[in-house]
Subunit: 143 residues, 4 copies
C-alpha cells in the first residue's frame, strides 16, 4: 500500500516488546503500534533538537495527531526487539505527514501514515486548542 522507503532514509528507534504491550492473543495489542509510532516521532524530533515538553511549556505549542492509518502485516510478540521508523512524507505549514513502520530485523510488521498538526493550547489543560504554524526553526530542521 505504502511504498516502503529505503531504511537508510528513515529515522530508526529501537524498542523492546514488554508484557504491557501484549494481549491475551499472545501478540502486541493493535493500539500499541500507535504508541510505538509516537515514541519514534518523539525521538526523531528530539534527534532534531526539538523537546516537546519545552515546546509545550515555553510556547504553548503541541503536536497533535489529526489522522493515522495502521496496517498490521505480522504479529510482534513478547521479548521481540523491534525498530519503529519515521520518514517525512509531506511537510505543510501547520501539519506534517509521516510514514511510520515497525520492523523486526528485516521483516516489516506494521506500517502507517500519521498526520500531525501543530496546535496552540491557550492556557491549561481545559482550554481550547487552535491550529497554528509549525515554528519556523522546527520546519527548517525537518526539511
Amino acid at each position: 500500500m505504502l511504498a516502503p522507503r529505503p531504511a537508510a532514509l528513515a529515522y530508526r528507534h529501537p524498542l523492546r516488546v514488554y508484557w504491557e504491550d501484549t494481549d491475551a492473543g499472545g501478540v502486541v495489542f493493535y493500539a500499541n503500534y500507535l504508541k510505538f509510532f509516537e515514541r519514534a516521532r518523539t525521538e526523531w524530533l528530539r534527534s532534531l533538537g526539538v523537546s516537546q515538553h519545552a515546546l509545550q511549556r515555553e510556547q504553548g505549542v503541541i503536536f497533535v495527531v489529526a489522522e493515522a492509518t495502521l496496517r498490521l502485516l505480522r504479529p510482534a510478540r513478547l521479548d521481540d526487539a523491534l525498530e519503529a521508523t519515521v520518514a517525512v512524507a509531506d511537510a505543510a505549514r501547520a501539519s506534517l505527514r509521516l510514514q511510520q513502520q515497525v520492523w523486526r530485523g528485516g521483516e516489516l510488521l506494521a506500517e502507517g501514515m500519521v498526520r500531525i498538526a501543530c496546535v496552540q493550547a491557550a492556557g491549561g489543560s481545559g482550554a481550547d486548542l487552535e491550529p497554528c504554524r509549525i515554528p519556523a526553526a522546527i520546519l527548517e530542521k525537518i526539511q
Copy 2:
C-alpha cells in the same frame, strides 16, 4: 471522509474518560481511541451472543485487526461521557470492515474504519496464526 451513518443503525457503547486515557496535553491520547473502538467491537459481538474468550478457548479462533484508520476531529477530555459505535461496512468470508466512531453527545470526536480478520491460533501464544473463515454462526448474526 466517511459518510456518517445515522446513529440509529450503529451499535452504541457508552464509556467514560478516565485519567488513564488522557495525556499531558490534557486530552485523550490518540492510541486510546483504538481501545475505545475495540471495547465497542467486543460489546457489539457480545450483544450478538459472541464471547471472544469462549471462541478462543473452544475453537482457537481470534479476531485480529488487519487495518485501522483513525481521524481525530475534536479532543475528548477527562470525565467526558462518550459513546463508541460500530457499524458493519462490509462482511467477507474471512474478514469484516467496520465503521467506528466516538461521539460526545451530538459531537463526532473521532472516526475510523477497522478491518478485522478471523485467525486460528494453532496452540498457545507462541504459535503461528492462520487466516480462517468467520464461523458461520457468527456471520449469520452479523448479516
Copy 3:
C-alpha cells in the same frame, strides 16, 4: 492482610475486562488493577458530586496517588465482568486512605490500599505541585 469490608459498605463500580487489559499470559496485566482502582475512585467521587475535571479547572486542585499496595489473589481474564470497590479507611486533612478491591462475583481477585493526597497545581503541566487541604465541601461528603 486487609480485613475485607462487608460489600455493602463499599462503593461498587462494575467493569469489563477487554483485550487492552490482558497480557500474553492470558490474564489481566498487573498494573491494570491500578487503573481499575482509579476508575472506581473517580466514579465514587462523581457519586458524591465531585468532578475531578471541574476541580482541576476551577480550583487547580488534583488528587494524586501518594502510595498504593496491591495484592493479587486470582487472575482476571478476558470478558470477565468485575466490580472494583472503594471504601474510606482514613480521612485526614490533606489525604485519604482508601481500601480498594476487585471482585468477580463473590470471588475477591485483588485488593489494595491507596493513599491519595490533595495537591495544587500552580499553573500548567510543567508547574510544581503543592500539597493542599482537601476542599471542605468534599471532606464533608466523604465523612
Copy 4:
C-alpha cells in the same frame, strides 16, 4: 520506608517518559510506574540470560506478580530520562521479593517492593495457573 540500596548494587534500566505514560495532570500516571518496574525486571532477567518468552513457550512457566507496593515521592514528566532499578530483597523457592525504584538522575521519584511468583500454565491462556518452583538454573543466576 525502604532503605535505599546503593545504586551500584541494583540492576539499572534506562527509560524515557513518552506521551503515553503521562496523564492530564501533566505527570506520569501512577499505574505506569508498575510498567516501568516490569520493564526493569524483564531486562534484569534478560541480563541473566533468562528469556520470559522462551520460558513460557518451552516450559509453560511464567513469573506473575503476587504483591506490589508503590510509593510516589516526586512526579516524573514528559521527556524525562529515568532509570528503573531492580535489586533482590529475598529469594525463596517459588517466589522472589524485589526492591524496585525509579530515579531521575540523583532524585528518587518512586519506589516499591514487588513479589513475583513462579507459576505453570497448564496449556493455553484459558487454563489454570499452578504455583511452581523457580527453575534451578534461574535461581542459581539470581543468587
